[in-house]
């Protein structure tokens, strides 16, 4: 199996973040192929389409298609942005790419800029990631010094400037238009779409934005061809993908494996469950995706289409493992708190609804729930979904509604007995 072979290939090497190590392992070879080969922008985009690389930030939109939306021959600067505002609970992969493989990200961005005619780019990194920020900034300096960024890259007439923009603490800035607002120095509140970023993005100019892992996948696709990448994975689900496996596992970590890898194998890589524990539930793609029952999860493959068929989503590949030691109501109450805290306040159903969900869950968890509360949660959830500008609120509803469907007995026990089914069964045993 092709494990840790694309975006995290050099993670185990000393000084893997330095340009020298990256170059010794073939780094910037794809850029040379593009500029000196030369490959035309259209050729690059068609390889990207062939690769079936889908956006690694969570939405899974085909990258080649997104790149083809950038208009040609428009006046003014076109921008290329990297979304490194990693903050969805369960997601911790982009941080490792930036710490260990910053040049792979930078090379992917330079190639993307050439393919789309972007003259200027920013990597928007969440403000808490100070160490990754310094690593990426040092790598950008190395790339400028080597003539790989700036004016007339590698002696051609292609120029591209790149800088880091630091966030300041707000999950919502991972939403692409909120990120652009934040880059413009404003509150991170999502814009209504359309217009989409390809026509009206940063500073109102044509803009493309991709996730860190997406860009870091580009050099190998260009070097080995779209077909090579596609065949690492499955049709429509090309390549490898980093899965962050966290929660109740013995060896949490980032595992870059082919799309379509059985969940069972992935769980094994993460050391499996703690001794004596049973798998209760898995959140396969970060907290904004629906919970899947443990038994069902054991039969699933990790790719966009398989997880989607099971009623959830692959998201950013953020696999949160939950065993039978914890009460689902408590877990979901904690997840709901996140969305309440992170709602930007712009749309009423989200600003009010996220707090409403949390307060009802909080009282159920604390033994003060009432019989109608379960219907109330469903009702509030259904009145939020699809009624907001961005997807944050839908993401906040998903864990609530899915856990109600999968574990009604835990909620009912809390309401009827005023206590927790998990703790009660433990004391009986």
């Amino acid at each position: 199996m092709y494990v840790n072979g694309v975006t995290l290939r050099n993670r185990g090497l000393p000084d893997s973040h330095r340009i020298g190590v990256y170059r010794q392992t073939g780094g910037y070879g794809a850029l040379a192929k593009v500029l000196q080969g030369p490959m035309s922008p259209d050729q690059i985009i068609s390889e990207m389409k062939l690769s079936a690389l889908r956006g690694r930030g969570g939405a899974g939109f085909p990258t080649g298609l997104k790149w083809s939306f950038m208009p040609k021959g428009v006046a003014g600067t076109k921008y290329l942005l990297c979304n490194a505002d990693e903050g969805e609970p369960g997601t911790c992969k982009d941080r490792d790419i930036m710490r260990y493989e910053p040049h792979r990200l930078i090379e992917g961005m330079i190639i993307g800029a050439y393919a789309m005619g972007a003259r200027s780019g920013y990597i928007y990194i969440r403000g808490e990631f100070v160490e990754p920020i310094r690593t990426v900034e040092a790598a950008i300096d190395e790339a400028y010094a080597a003539g790989l960024l700036g004016e007339r890259i590698l002696g051609t007439d292609f120029s591209f400037d790149l800088a880091v923009h630091r966030g300041a603490g707000a999950y919502i800035c991972g939403e692409e238009t909120a990120l652009m607002e934040s880059l413009e120095g404003k509150k991170g509140q999502p814009r209504f779409k359309p217009p989409f970023p390809a026509s009206y993005g940063l500073y109102g100019q044509p803009t493309t934005i991709n996730n860190v892992e997406t860009f870091a996948s580009v050099p190998d696709i260009v070097l080995h061809g779209g077909e090579w990448f596609l065949k690492l994975g499955k049709p429509n689900n090309g390549g490898t993908k980093i899965f962050s496996v966290t929660g109740h596992v013995r060896n949490p970590g980032n595992f870059e494996v082919p799309m379509g890898t059985p969940f069972r194998d992935l769980l094994g890589m993460a050391g499996g469950l703690h001794p004596g524990r049973r798998l209760k539930a898995v959140i396969p793609g970060g907290t904004s995706t629906a919970m899947v029952a443990g038994d069902a999860m054991m039969e699933l493959a990790m790719d966009y289409d398989s997880i989607s068929k099971a009623g959830s989503a692959l998201g950013a590949g953020s696999v949160i493992v939950i065993d039978d030691s914890v009460c689902i109501v408590r877990v979901v109450e904690r997840i709901a708190r996140f969305y309440m805290h992170e709602s930007c306040g712009q749309c009423t159903p989200c600003r009010e609804g996220m707090g409403w969900l949390w307060r009802v869950l909080h009282r159920i968890e604390n033994g003060q729930g009432r019989e109608p509360d379960l219907d109330l949660l469903q009702n509030v959830g259904s009145r939020i979904e699809g009624r907001t500008i961005c997807a944050l609120a839908d993401g906040g509803v998903a864990p609530v509604v899915s856990s109600l469907r999968l574990f009604p007995e835990e909620y009912e026990h809390h309401i009827r007995q005023g206590s927790c089914l998990v703790t009660d069964s433990r004391s009986v045993a």
Binding site: E86, G87, P89, T91, C92, A168, P252, I320
Partner: protein, 163 residues
Amino acid sequence: MLSEASLAEIARERAKYPPERARSALLAALRIAQAEHGYLPETLVEYVAGLLELPAIQAFEVATFYSMYDLRPVGKYKFCVCGSVSCFLNGSDGILAHLQERLGVGLGETTPDGLFTIAEVECLGACKDAPVMQLGDRYVETLTPESLDVLIGQLRGGRDDVR
């Protein structure tokens, strides 16, 4: 209100953006101002706005929207413990309880000697290293009550490079 070094750093941030887009440097300018003063009093927010020739309201909007800006004084060391789901599943509640007991202050409070503030924050994006906290420029990972006691002892002894 800011040192030459801070002003130079803000100028470097300003240069990252097109000349007519000073507002883009606002997040950075507020961060740099806070780093020098420890927090952002109103007068400092107004000063930063003036520096970038922006209306003060634009700086206040940003200073109050993002979680990393402190509008009130905090301790020299601010323990920002993640309480989101993966850290929660790995005992973040116990870590926060231990910190409060050990330091004798509650969430959001600062020790009387001005050294420590305890805060619970949402996902830090380091879920595989749970439970985790942000401490200034770095993350401290796989926290245990024992590792926190060692850390607190070292910070009290004037060292701040401990992992």
